[in-house]
Assembly symmetry: C2
Homo-oligomer: 343 residues x 2
């Protein structure tokens, strides 16, 4: 029931996802009086289940209030399906804050994970990269950052189909002494071979779109700023390109000639292809679609969720977390030892 053009857009996106993936078994959670008429014309949707509820979380609701009063909302019931094991994942295009807080309260974090993180893919010169955290946590300790690295590692393995994705730590310089104490401590832990990650060192903001790492780890403040700045810059330049092509009769003709060659750029900049941010670190798969996603975007968010389930993301993540917990403990005990020696 969530998103700018709901439930129409969610339903047509679900139909598209079912066409692409015949094994998909969607459960649509919402008001059947609204859903059924929209589903009638598409035979593929007759295989989709409906879990009926008239209650829903609105887009302007304060998250804490949604948590208290939304016990029968479509969002809450969908999360409950993951908790009970009736669903393998939940996908929502609704209120982000409410989804995050409800999912955290219902599903809880995996043992060993202090805080969940929001992750998403975005286009770079070297194919898609993943960045986390994107705004769930403003301040992050070195332990948080190392856990984000383990979560991003498992996520990229599943979605990017890469065995050992490269992991970069976002910083304001590439030299060892740069950045905050928590970043430098996280770097020391990630460099430990016991953690079994393909750690690529510090990367700076300009390294993000250049694809210098496949997984970029950062606190939620700088991650949110970086991703939104990149989106805004793409939008600005996209506007300038359109204006340039429209400026004169010659440039319009030029556009007609160059149009096909610009398809790759248009595809790369198409946000629908990257729709589906993931709340990592919970006991269950939670995918957040952009509220303005079209049916392609919704289908993509559903694909992210089903890929994570099929490729055993949860087990992979638990193993990665176990290794990182060990490495963090070793690093901390060594730090204590060296402190004792110097004192």
């Amino acid at each position: 029931m969530g998103g700018d053009d709901a439930p129409q857009c969610v339903i047509s996106g679900t139909a598209l996802a079912m066409q692409n993936d015949p094994d998909l078994r969607p459960i649509l959670v919402g008001d059947e009086n609204q859903l059924k008429p929209l589903m009638q014309n598409n035979p593929i949707l007759h295989q989709a289940e409906i879990l009926h509820t008239e209650d829903m979380v609105t887009s302007d609701e304060v998250p804490s209030q949604a948590l208290r009063t939304g016990k029968n909302s479509s969002m809450r019931l969908a999360i409950d399906l993951v908790k009970s094991g009736e669903a393998s994942a939940v996908v929502s295009a609704g209120n982000s804050g409410a989804l995050m807080i409800m999912a955290l309260m219902v599903l809880r974090t995996i043992e060993g994970i202090e805080r969940p993180a929001l992750a998403a893919l975005f286009p770079t010169l070297n194919g898609p990269s993943c960045m986390l955290d994107l705004g769930a946590n403003i301040d992050c300790s070195s332990t948080n950052l190392v856990q984000f690295a383990a979560m991003g590692d498992a996520f990229y393995r599943v979605i990017g189909k890469v065995d050992r994705p490269s992991i970069g730590l976002l910083n304001v310089g590439e030299e060892e002494q740069k950045g905050s104490a928590s970043i430098r401590e996280a770097a020391a832990i990630l460099s430990d071979p016991a953690i079994q990650m393909n750690y690529a060192g510090f990367i700076e903001g300009d390294g993000i779109p250049m694809g210098e790492a496949q997984v970029i780890v950062c606190d939620g403040f700088s991650g949110n700023v970086a991703l939104k700045t990149a989106e805004g810059t793409s939008k600005l330049i996209g506007t300038m390109i359109r204006n340039s092509f429209r400026a004169t009769i010659f440039s319009r003709l030029g556009y007609i000639l160059a149009r096909r060659s610009f398809q790759q750029l248009r595809d790369m900049m198409n946000p629908q292809r990257y729709n589906g941010a993931v709340l990592l670190g919970l006991n269950g798969i939670v995918v957040k679609s952009h509220g303005g996603a079209n049916q392609d975007g919704i289908a993509n968010a559903i694909k992210v969720a089903s890929d994570m389930h099929r490729h055993g993301f949860m087990d992979d993540l638990k193993n990665g977390i176990a290794r990182s917990i060990d490495a963090i403990e070793v690093a901390q005990s060594e730090k204590m030892k060296s402190k004792e020696e110097t004192s």
Copy 2:
């Protein structure tokens, strides 16, 4: 003597700046044996002074070491000229870290300013905006952020020739409760009418390239990440545009037709036009040119420095700081009062 193509590039940039501004009186600080032969062919440079020294700070030198051993370096002597009043401003394309630490130690901060901040202009949909801090301070208190706002306000008034530039605080959302405590406190102080700033509220990363504020205030970590991410994204899309035009014979022909219309986009994305980051908050004007700047970039950095001097930046800044100190004190005493009342 600093920069990738020094001293040739610095000298030709100085000549260009002198052509554009007949009142400019440059003092070139460096090795006259290298400088003189490069200056001979251009008569305009015969009016430039040379302050001779053979010593210089190299690009790979650690800043703290440069500070200790570089007492006779060209960088240090140039800063000393500002300290003694013989020069109105210093412009350097050399080692950024060394310039920052040397300028801070020699010139010291203006009374009332806790920490200097690095500021630069960049292109947006609504003309140039200015962002600070860009990396001089990793962690920032609310007082730091308010002082950055006062510095950015005075800087943009001079460079952007706008009476009351709009001031935005970078955050991860536009709602009041978003972000860290220091950002929320800074927002409360900046909203105070006594501070006499045109405060525009929180802006998110995508608002930066959209030009939602003329001055964007943030801590040095997120500012550095945002600016570099925007630069990297521009570079990525620029590469994609070039590849698209080169892809086929049709697109090449399209390029020839559309070329003139793309000039505006090329101009907007040309980093030389925005060369010249400023270290604000010191008792003197310090401008850092990018090491890779060409002569246009150097001339632009010199213009930034001379504009700041001519338009009375230092006095304007001191007035702004005085107002913001008053407003910070009022805000803090009110906070104390409300604490006393609640306890």
